[in-house]
Amino acid sequence: MLLEVDLEKRFPGFGSRVKFTLTSSRCGVFGPSGSGKSTLMNMLAGLVDPDRGFIRLNGKTLFDSDRKINLPPEKRKVGVVFQHAHLFPHMNVRKNLYYGMKRRRSGGGDIDPGQLIAVLQLERLLDRRVTRLSGGEKQRVALGRTILACPDLILMDEPLTGLDGQLKYQIIPHLQRVFNEFSIPILFISHSLHEMRMMTDDVLVMHEGAVARQLTTEELARAEACTTGGGYINLLELDVDRDHGDLLSYRWGEVELMVVKSHAAPEGGRFSLSSRDILLFKKHPEAASARNMLACTVRNTYTTEWLVGVELDCRGNSLIAEIVPQSVHELDIRPGAEVVAVMKASAINRLY
């Protein structure tokens, strides 16, 4: 995907001036509310007319004030998944799903609706009225409806914000499966760093109506960890392994992690682990209450405002620990050093 944007839009009391080029097919727009994310989305989709500038998607001009081009939304092939699903209330799930597909202009993709419905696990909901769906189900239908219209780009406007707690993250695997399977570029708009890290590779950071920074999501996560004060959060993808009574062991690549049992049905998923809950030892601590002790190699270190981030290699997996500068000095931590990372089973929490 190649998205070139240079736009200006003034509202009373708020101005937006954005200029960027995106090539990655998993991009994010990150920023607090009021930073101009929604304005940008509406201009890309053709729902708000910019004052000046251009939008080019894969070489096709969607808007150009100089050349007097302004394609209407239905001709842009830019799909939108809104924060609230906005499913058509007078149609059932099936009709909602097929709404865009029926209106697809020639030259559309070749997405098989049956396959998509299976990936989104919507088979059992097809004849249901949309008013009788849960929030997560509504979002899945909205996503399916947008994908079946075969857009060249999908804008996702805070699609998880309306969902609460666990539900929020339960939809993430569906999203990832769909975008892996159907390879449609996305622009994921959110103010949540967790969501950003799970859904995107590159990010535009918006601030007061302009693009403040353009960087990789991982860089953003590290930078945000210093400024927000919460510390860097490791996101681990784990596969279930064995049940040990009170604990569950999960496979993380080649290593095994012990996690406190919290779910009735243990299954794989995504877990969070704060970089500040990881202790580093120079030698293996023979007896300790912590359940996880992993031999790692230091790959790299970087300094944050008042801590040092240590990037560890655990047999191929990446892990980041944050420690105070004195410890770095005393333990002689530098690239290539061997250390043991220790964390409690209760420090690893399930996201979904």
């Binding site: 053709g46 729902l47 209407p72 939304p73 239905e74 906005h86 007078h90 949309v130 947008t146």
Partner: protein
């Protein structure tokens, strides 16, 4: 004893004919006006709204007289229509026009309230899914404002059945041609010994209006279209 004369039956038929024609004639225009009032941000909207609602507050006789001036031989509309051989004064067409103008604000008001309760995001969603403006109108906006439209049509139909002031001025009170139920009742009450006949037509009028309400209520329920999301 309840009995209807031939003229009474003609008056009932004419009333139904006038009310149906006026409602159907006003529907496309009324829907368009409601759409503009509900969704557009154009300048002079308040003026347009006032103009549309004027018949609601003006005495019907005033409307009838203004229509008579416009559609008369020397009126600007009358002159245009006269050139293609159409005369509306003292004809059934005149009765239909009078009813359409008087009932129009009721129709627009109902549809507009229904439209304003539609979340506009449904329309933007359909546009981003590849539906053009007309497509969106027919597949989203109209189905979602169906109930309100039906309610507006019912209201207008009932109002047209009862139209008197504007009709008598524009279309006159000619039995068998432009005499609708209210006009017939008026004639009976001004004729000695016509009280019983007037009362009969009153009963018919009540029955008709009530039937309209029942039908609209039933249709409303049968459609089962819920706007709740």
């Amino acid at each position: 004893m309840f009995s209807l004369t031939f003229d009474d039956i003609t008056a009932i038929k004419l009333s139904l004919q006038v009310a149906t024609s006026a409602t159907l004639l006003a529907l496309p225009l009324g829907y368009g006006a409601a759409y503009v009032l509900a969704f557009s941000n154009m300048r002079g909207k308040a003026l347009l709204e006032g103009l549309i609602n004027l018949p609601l507050v003006l005495p019907p006789v005033v409307i009838g007289y203004l229509l008579l001036l416009s559609f008369g031989k020397n009126g600007w509309l009358g002159a245009i229509l006269g050139r293609i051989g159409i005369n509306v004064i003292f004809t059934l067409k005149g009765a239909v026009i009078a009813s359409a103008v008087v009932g129009f604000p009721l129709l627009v008001r109902s549809i507009r309230i229904g439209m304003e309760s539609i979340d506009r995001h449904y329309m933007t969603a359909s546009r981003t899914l590849g539906a053009g403006w007309w497509d969106t109108l027919f597949s989203i906006t109209i189905p979602l404002s169906y109930k309100a439209t039906l309610a507006g049509m019912t209201l207008m139909f009932a109002r047209s059945l009862g139209e008197f002031g504007a009709t008598i001025i524009l279309a006159g009170n000619i039995p068998g041609v432009t005499q609708t139920i209210p006009l017939a009742i008026y004639q009976y009450t001004s004729t000695p010994g016509g009280d019983a006949m007037a009362l009969n037509l009153c009963m018919v009028s009540i029955g008709l209006s009530f039937t309209v309400l029942l039908i609209s209520e039933a249709a409303n329920r049968a459609m089962g279209v819920s706007r709740a999301s």
